[in-house]
């Protein structure tokens, strides 16, 4: 009768937790069972690596599954809800992921090495177009918002009286200037002149 595989006893064997007889039987099985021998070797390497602080190399199967996850799938369908008035920003779809983690929305043959190159190129072009349109939208939105802001600058209130006096002082030097008008202009910045009264012109 061929003994059963070691299973969890491999860990105990590596850790030296088996009794004398149990250890002898386990080692005898390993000598004839390639599967358990391989598992024992892997367990020892992991233990050694942990003991030395080195990162254990992932198994080939684990690496293969990770690669499959990394391969791009179909674009994620649009979300059902959007925030009102949210700015348009470029969003990259999660490759091959549905809204539920771990589930591919559009399964593809991960082992299909005949994927057409133009398919990927077209997808990239769509991404680029969406990104460019989003960038333009973002820029125009920013410009529209910036254009609504009141013009920045130092608030200025022209000194009416000083400017009127300066006007009179300068033009008063012209020939045939009217001293009475110059004086009225200079007096309180011209404010002493009565305000206009409605006349029929």
């Amino acid at each position: 009768m061929r003994p059963e595989h070691l299973g969890e006893r491999i860990s105990a064997l590596v850790d030296g937790e088996l009794g004398h007889q149990a250890r002898d039987r386990a080692l005898a099985h390993v000598a004839h069972c390639a599967s358990c021998r391989a598992a024992l070797d892997a367990e020892r390497r992991i233990k050694d690596a942990l003991a030395s602080g080195a990162t254990p190399a992932p198994s080939e199967d684990f690496t293969r599954r990770l690669r499959m996850l990394a391969e791009p799938g179909e674009p994620v369908p649009p979300r059902d809800r959007r925030m009102p008035f949210a700015p348009i920003v470029p969003t990259l779809p999660t490759p091959g992921r549905s809204r539920r983690m771990g589930r591919r929305t559009a399964p593809v043959d991960r082992h299909d090495s005949r994927r057409p190159a133009e398919h990927r190129s077209a997808r990239r072009s769509r991404f680029a177009a969406v990104g460019a349109l989003s960038a333009v939208g973002l820029m125009l939105g920013t410009a529209f918002a910036a254009g609504g802001v009141p013009e920045q600058g130092r608030p200025v209130l022209p000194p009416a009286a000083e400017l009127s006096v300066e006007h009179a002082a300068t033009t008063g030097g012209l020939p045939l200037s009217d001293p009475a008008f110059d004086a009225v202009t200079a007096s309180f910045g011209g404010l002493s002149f009565p305000p206009p009264r409605a006349t029929d012109r």
Binding site: P155, S164, P196
Partner: protein
């Protein structure tokens, strides 16, 4: 006015709109009231229209104007004068006492009115002269833009006067008339008209006597009008300021030529002052860096015309203020309203209509300026 003015000759004719209260001028008031009844508000009808076109200036008329320009330097006088101005908003009038002594200055005393208190002003005789006129004669601008002719003789305040008329070159309509004292060439009366021949300004002596009542010493004089800003801007300065974004046109609509340029204030408060004239009208353009503080602008009315929004204050002189492109513009003008409108229209303005495209364009300009290292 002193009592010695009593019994002087009275004005022969005048164009007068409604006059305000004339406290302190009891003598001329009765006469002015009569004139007001006879002529009230009818000044535009008095505007002469010679309808002479293409006629060269009369040498005798130019000689008279030259004498008139020089007369204050040698003739002392005092009297009572009315000053009136008409605009689209109405008319304004004031009566002033005036006393002039050559080499000293001119004292002008305005009577109190319901709206304004009495004011005394002293105009020093050594007032500044326009800086950009250069070697041009003082009347060259007038002769270049108008046809100057003799228009007859008349009597003003009992004194014989020659009438000299400046006519517009195109229409031949009178732009101004001067009543010049035959004996001394003093300007006894003057009227200025707009492009349609309507009176915009008038001033005339209702009483005048030769000689001055001012004391020989400069004591007890009213406050003197401050001199013009001393920092004159020459051609190279103007070129540099123009490159730096200041508006420095050599001329403005209405044949207004640049006759003076000065600077006031310092640093961020610097003010550029450009003066323009056609020989009759005068326009001052002031520029300041910043944005007009509209909320605290007192006494001005907002006006939108032809896509431009400005703030206007009628009166003497007329004032218009607005801001565009980070500069506050102030126009102070002794000119016909149409001329002022043309001047304002010729200067920069921000668009009034604020539609989506304007807002977007303004925003793009603003965003691009954020990345412009030279902006």
């Amino acid at each position: 006015m002193s009592a010695q003015h009593a019994g002087r000759a009275r004005i022969g004719s005048a164009a007068m709109p409604a006059l305000p209260g004339l406290a302190g001028f009891a003598g001329p008031v009765a006469l002015l009231a009569v004139l007001l009844v006879a002529l009230g508000g009818s000044a535009p009808a008095l505007a002469p229209t010679a309808q002479v076109e293409g006629v060269p200036s009369d040498a005798r008329a130019m000689d008279l104007l030259e004498r008139a320009a020089q007369a204050p330097a040698s003739v002392a006088y005092h009297g009572v004068q009315f000053v009136s101005a008409w605009s689209e908003a109405g008319s304004s009038s004031l009566v002033v006492e005036i006393d002039h002594r050559p080499g000293h200055g001119t004292t002008v005393r305005s009577g109190s009115t319901v709206e304004s208190p009495a004011a005394d002003t002293f105009l020093p005789a050594d007032g500044s002269e326009p800086s950009v006129l250069g070697s041009s004669g003082p009347l060259d601008l007038l002769a270049a833009n108008f046809t100057v002719v003799l228009a007859g003789r008349a009597s003003v305040s009992g004194r014989a006067a020659d009438i000299v008329e400046a006519q517009r070159a195109g229409s031949g309509l009178a732009a101004a008339r001067f009543w010049l004292d035959t004996e001394t060439a003093l300007v006894l009366r003057r009227e200025v008209y707009d492009e349609r021949g309507r009176t915009t300004r008038a001033s005339a002596f209702v009483e005048i006597a030769l000689g001055s009542t001012q004391p020989a010493a400069a004591t007890h004089l009213p406050p003197a009008m401050p001199p013009a800003w001393s920092d004159e801007v020459d051609y190279s300065d103007r070129a540099a300021m123009s490159t730096g974004g200041w508006e420095c046109p050599d001329e403005l609509p209405g044949s207004l030529d640049l006759v003076d340029a000065r600077r006031g204030g310092e640093g961020d408060n610097q003010i550029l002052h450009l003066s323009y004239s056609d020989g009759l009208a005068t326009v001052s353009l002031f520029e300041q860096r910043g944005v007009l503080d509209e909320e605290n602008l007192d006494g001005y009315s907002p006006v939108e015309r032809d896509g431009r929004r400005v703030f206007v204050r009628d009166g003497v002189p007329q004032r218009v203020v607005w801001s565009a492109g980070g500069t506050v513009f102030t126009v102070v003008a002794d000119a016909p309203p149409a001329t002022v409108d043309a001047v304002v229209a010729a200067l920069p303005h921000d668009p009034v209509e604020d539609g989506g495209w304007h807002r977007l364009g303004r925003g793009l300009d603003r965003v691009s300026s954020w990345f412009n290292p030279f902006g």
